[in-house]
Amino acid sequence: MKPQFQQPVCDECRSRLGNIFCTLTSAQVSEMDSEKNCSIYKKGQIIFNEGNKPAGVYCVNKGKIKIFQTGEEGKEQILRLAKEGDILGYRSLISGEVYAGTAAVLEDATVCFIPKRTFFDFLNTNARLSTQMMQLLSHDLKKAEERLTGLAQKPVRERMAEALLMLQEFFGTDKNGIISTVISREDIANIVGIATETAIRILSEFKNENLIELIGKRIKVINQQGLLKTAHIFD
C-alpha cells in the first residue's frame, strides 16, 4: 500500500521560521495552513513554467530547486537556486507578470503552494511581512547586480571557482566534506553561463591543481584558500 503523504503543518514548519512568513500572526499561520496545498516533486519535475501566469507563491519545505531561463537557442541559464525555507514565484505575483523563469527540482522536494488571495491578504494586513518582502526584493536586486557584474567582468575560471564556493555554501557539505548534492555538469555550466564541455575542462583543471576532488558526480573542495584565490575573493 502506498504510504500516505503527511502535509507539513505551518505552525511546526522549521522552514517557515527562516523565511518572511515568520512574521505572520498565529491566526495568519492557521489561515495559511488551511489554504495551502503541498505536493511532493521528484528530481527533474517542473514546479512552474516560464511564461505561465502565477496563481500564488511556493514555499519550499524540503529539497533543492533551480530557477532558470531558457535562451533562444534552448540553452538554460540558471539564475537562482532555492532550498528549504525559500519562497518561489513572488516576483511575478507582485508585478502581475508571467513567470520570468522555470522552476525545476534538483533534489526531491516538498513544496507548499499558497494561493494569491491569501498571500496578498497577508501583505496588505501585516506591515512586518510587507517590510520584509521589500527587503527580500532589495536583496535579490543586489544579488542580480553582483551576478551581472561577475558575468561581464570575470574570466570563466574565476566564475567557476565562485560557483563552486557558492554551491558549497548553499548545499553545505557531508561529514566527508563533499558538497551535499549531486549536481550535473550541465547544471554547473548553466550556473556559470558556459558550455558543458568548457565546464568539464575547467573542473578537470581544478582537480589537477588539487583544488577539488571529483567523486563521480559529486565534488569536494580540498583547497578552500586556493579556490578563493582563483575566484579572486579575499577575506
Binding site: Q77, R91, G101, T131, Q135, L137, L141, R147, T149
Partner: protein
C-alpha cells in the same frame, strides 16, 4: 491629492523635494556611500555602474526621466551597491531616506509599489544576464540599441535622444571598446546606423531588429 499609481508618483508628489542639477558625467552618488535618500529623475538620463579595475565602468542600468534611484539601498539600509552618474544634463528631485521610509511605512499600499518597482529592476537585470550568455556580441549590441530606442526614443531626424559614448555602449553591451568599434563599423556598412560623437542615427530599424534575433 494627486493619484499614486507607482512609487515614482510618491516622490513626484512629495511636497518639498530638494532639487539638484547634474551636468553630463557628474557623479550623483558613489558605490559604498551611505544612502542619504531617493532620487527622482525629473529630466535627463543616468547610468548606474560598478567601478572595475583600470578605471573601467560596468554599466548595469540606464535610467530615464520618471525613474528613481537608490531605492533598494534605502529600503535595506545598506550602502549604495553601485554608482550613479549623469549621461546628459539631469534634474533630480531628492527625498531623504527617513522621510521616504516614513511615507512608505504610513501606507501599506506604498510598500506594494516599492515591491513592484524592485521586481521590474530585477527582471531587467536578469534579462541582461541571460542576454550576455545567450547572444553573440553583435546581437547584444542590436538589443542594446533597441533598449535605448524604447527608453529614450528617436527625434525627427531618427537620432537617438541620448548622447552615449563608445565606452558607455561597450560597457553596457559587455564587450571591449575595440570590438565595439568594429561592430559599429559593420552596422554602418550594412546601412543600419551612423555613429558620430555620441550621436546614433538609425537608418534601418527593421534591419536593426533582425540583427538582434
Amino acid at each position: 491629492m494627486k493619484p499614486v499609481n507607482c512609487i515614482e508618483d510618491i516622490i513626484k508628489n512629495y511636497r518639498e523635494p530638494t532639487q539638484f542639477i547634474f551636468h553630463k558625467n557628474d557623479v550623483i552618488f558613489n558605490e559604498n556611500d551611505e544612502p542619504s535618500g531617493i532620487y527622482y529623475i525629473k529630466s535627463g538620463s543616468v547610468k548606474l555602474f560598478k567601478q572595475e579595475p583600470y578605471q573601467n565602468q560596468r554599466i548595469l542600468y540606464l535610467a530615464n526621466s520618471g525613474e528613481i534611484l537608490g531605492l533598494h539601498s534605502v529600503v535595506n539600509c545598506c550602502p549604495f551597491t553601485n554608482s550613479a552618474a549623469a549621461v546628459s544634463e539631469t534634474v533630480l528631485s531628492f527625498v531623504s531616506a527617513s522621510d521616504f521610509m516614513n511615507l512608505v511605512d504610513s501606507n501599506n499600499s506604498y510598500k506594494l509599489l516599492v515591491m513592484k518597482n524592485l521586481c521590474s529592476r530585477i527582471d531587467s537585470m536578469e534579462n541582461h544576464i541571460v542576454r550576455i550568455n545567450d547572444k553573440l556580441s553583435d546581437e547584444r549590441f542590436a538589443d542594446t540599441l533597441k533598449l535605448l530606442i524604447d527608453k529614450y526614443g528617436l527625434n525627427n531626424s531618427k537620432i537617438l535622444n541620448v548622447n552615449i559614448s563608445l565606452d558607455e555602449l561597450a560597457s553596457y553591451t559587455c564587450i571591449s571598446k575595440s570590438y565595439m568599434k568594429k561592430i559599429i563599423a559593420d552596422f554602418t556598412q550594412r546601412g543600419i546606423l551612423t555613429y558620430s560623437s555620441g550621436n546614433i542615427k538609425i537608418l534601418n530599424l527593421s534591419g536593426l531588429i533582425s540583427a538582434g534575433v
